[in-house]
Amino acid sequence: MIEFIVRRVLLLIPVLTLISAVSFGIIYITPGDTAKNALMSPSGGANEKAVEEFRIQQGLDKPIHIQYLTWMGKVLHGDLGYSYMTNEGVSDAILRTFGATLKLAIVSMLISLLIAIPAGIIAALKHGTIIDDLFRFTALFGVSMPNFWQAYIMIIVFALFLKVLPSSGYGSGDLSHIILPAITLGTGYAAVTMRLMRASMLDVLRQDYIRAARAKGLPEYLVISRHALKNSLIPVVTMAGLNFGYLLNGSVIVETIFSWPGLGKLIVSSILTKDYPMIQGCILFIAVIFVLINFAVDLSYAYLNPRIRYETRN
């Protein structure tokens, strides 16, 4: 177990190094001037002199590898630096925005799982019937809908005509604000999960051990809940981690439309302004989160799947 964790952490090092180097490089070769961006006035233009000073002060006049190494050195000491644009501490900004994104992601994940898993199970059990078709079609519909389109339509319906939900904003932590963005973000996720759940449930239902469970005379609900459910959740859980990236992607658009002060928005704006410390910090953070989530997935996978606890063929 400990060895497993250590190995995971060690594997993280090359990935993170690569990620940071690649992103540093990409941003560097793209056109645009960081220093100018940092000092660009809302009316247009930036003060030349201030720009030069800023460049020197932030070490942007140095060759790229020096900049990279300097940054790495600081990161190794736990210092992610400060945003060029707002002077905000990068770690502060990440924690602040990630809270909002996480809230959104978790709520939409919960909503979608609550719908998708039962729906997937029902579709599988009613395999080949009209119910299955209906569920399947709904799911396909869900993944096929552009989410920004869906967002506007929902705003019009729920906020303008029915006036039951606020149209946007973060609110002061009250739940009504999160419903529309969470549903928008969750629709695609729910659809993907439902399809996966259905497929894996169908697969499990074909297995001999389900037949064996029926042979014992178990009532159908026990056959499903005790014998089929856990097995069929295995691929769903595995995908959950990878799909978290999907949520993050979606959150960029959803956060923009619903003015949700999240990480997605932060990253987009920092990419566009070449805010090196912020981009690097965010990417590093996301990579770590990604690895952590997949680590958690592996653990829950091991919980669900006793085989993995001991060995896999290599």
Partner: protein, 312 residues
């Protein structure tokens, strides 16, 4: 006790597939008396497992089943699902063909064995677990307490097979169907399981499906031989081993290594386009014109049954 515990008559099972209807079972008549151990042998793919599954109503949903299966006076295929469920596991136990896939990989073995006890006998969980451990002990698994907590992948093939047997023993079902309980096991483990089956056979009625003639001879009272979805010969075990009537059975026994490894010529027929007449005619040395056209009925010959015009 009932004389005729199980009575199968004119059973047909067909499967719809991409290429056509597969006629897996074509008119099987079979009755098993209480306390009898019936062995079922025959070529691979002739429908033995399907028969076992049809009796317990565990075939996949799209299978087309016709005919009657009567168990203790109940028409099994006419029962509602709930009653069938109570019969299954409680009255009829089945040991599925493939031990590797018939155990749920994510549930500890002991729990899987205890499950029917909780359901059918309303045992408390702990009591059921204790019983499961004692069943594992009974099927000669060492350190049963520890093993009961393990998962299927931690068991060897032979141990899984024994766990399946333990599971079917759990409910003291009176009728047990065992589908190739010794398949793919090495000699030493096989011996174990044969011994176990014999022990069980003392008290129960059984239908044992097997490829292994030695096992059949060792355990069974009667032997049925299947070919292309029908039973071609039934006889008490001693008589079957001393003399085979049907040309297929003969050929089958001749192929044993001990008898000189002489295979039957030709290939088994397609189950989609069943051959006309006797299903074995194209491979038979005694084939006549009649065999090519007319499907032979079950014929009684010297107190045994055989489906061949030779004995008409």
């Amino acid at each position: 006790m009932f004389e005729n515990l199980l009575n199968v008559s004119d059973l047909h099972v067909r499967f719809p597939t991409d290429v056509g209807l597969v006629n897996a079972i074509n008119g099987v008549d079979l009755s098993i008396n209480s306390g009898d151990i019936m062995g079922l042998i025959g070529e691979s793919g002739c429908g033995k497992s399907v028969l076992g599954l049809a009796i317990t109503r565990l075939l996949q949903e799209d299978a087309i089943v016709n005919g009657r299966i009567n168990y203790r006076g109940d028409e099994l295929h006419a029962l509602d699902k709930k009653t069938m469920r109570q019969i299954r596991g409680k009255d009829i136990g089945i040991i599925l063909q493939n031990p590797g896939t018939s155990l749920n990989p994510v549930i500890p073995i002991g729990k899987q064995i205890a499950e029917p006890l909780v359901i059918h006998q309303r045992m408390k969980r702990f009591a059921a677990m204790d019983k499961a451990v004692s069943l594992l002990e009974r099927v000669k698994i060492r350190e049963p307490e520890k093993r009961a907590k393990e998962y299927p992948h931690q068991f060897s093939g032979g141990m899984k097979e024994r766990a399946l047997i333990a599971m079917s023993l759990a409910n003291e079902s009176e009728f047990i169907i065992a589908d190739e309980p010794t398949k793919g096991l090495d000699v030493t483990v096989k011996k174990n399981i044969v011994k176990l089956l014999k022990e069980i056979a003392n008290k129960k009625t059984m239908l044992i499906i097997t490829h292994d003639l030695a096992v059949a001879e060792d355990v069974c009272d009667n032997i049925g031989v299947m070919y292309a979805g029908e039973i071609v010969e039934i006889a008490p075990v001693e008589r079957m081993f001393s003399e085979q009537l049907h040309p297929y059975t003969k050929g089958f026994f001749e192929s044993l290594p001990a008898r000189g490894l002489k295979p039957i010529k030709g290939n088994s027929p397609s189950l989609i386009d069943l051959p006309e007449g006797c299903r074995f005619h194209s491979r038979c040395d005694h084939c006549t014109e009649r065999c090519k056209k007319e499907h032979p009925p079950m014929i009684e010959h010297e107190g045994r049954h055989v489906r061949c015009f030779l004995y008409a």
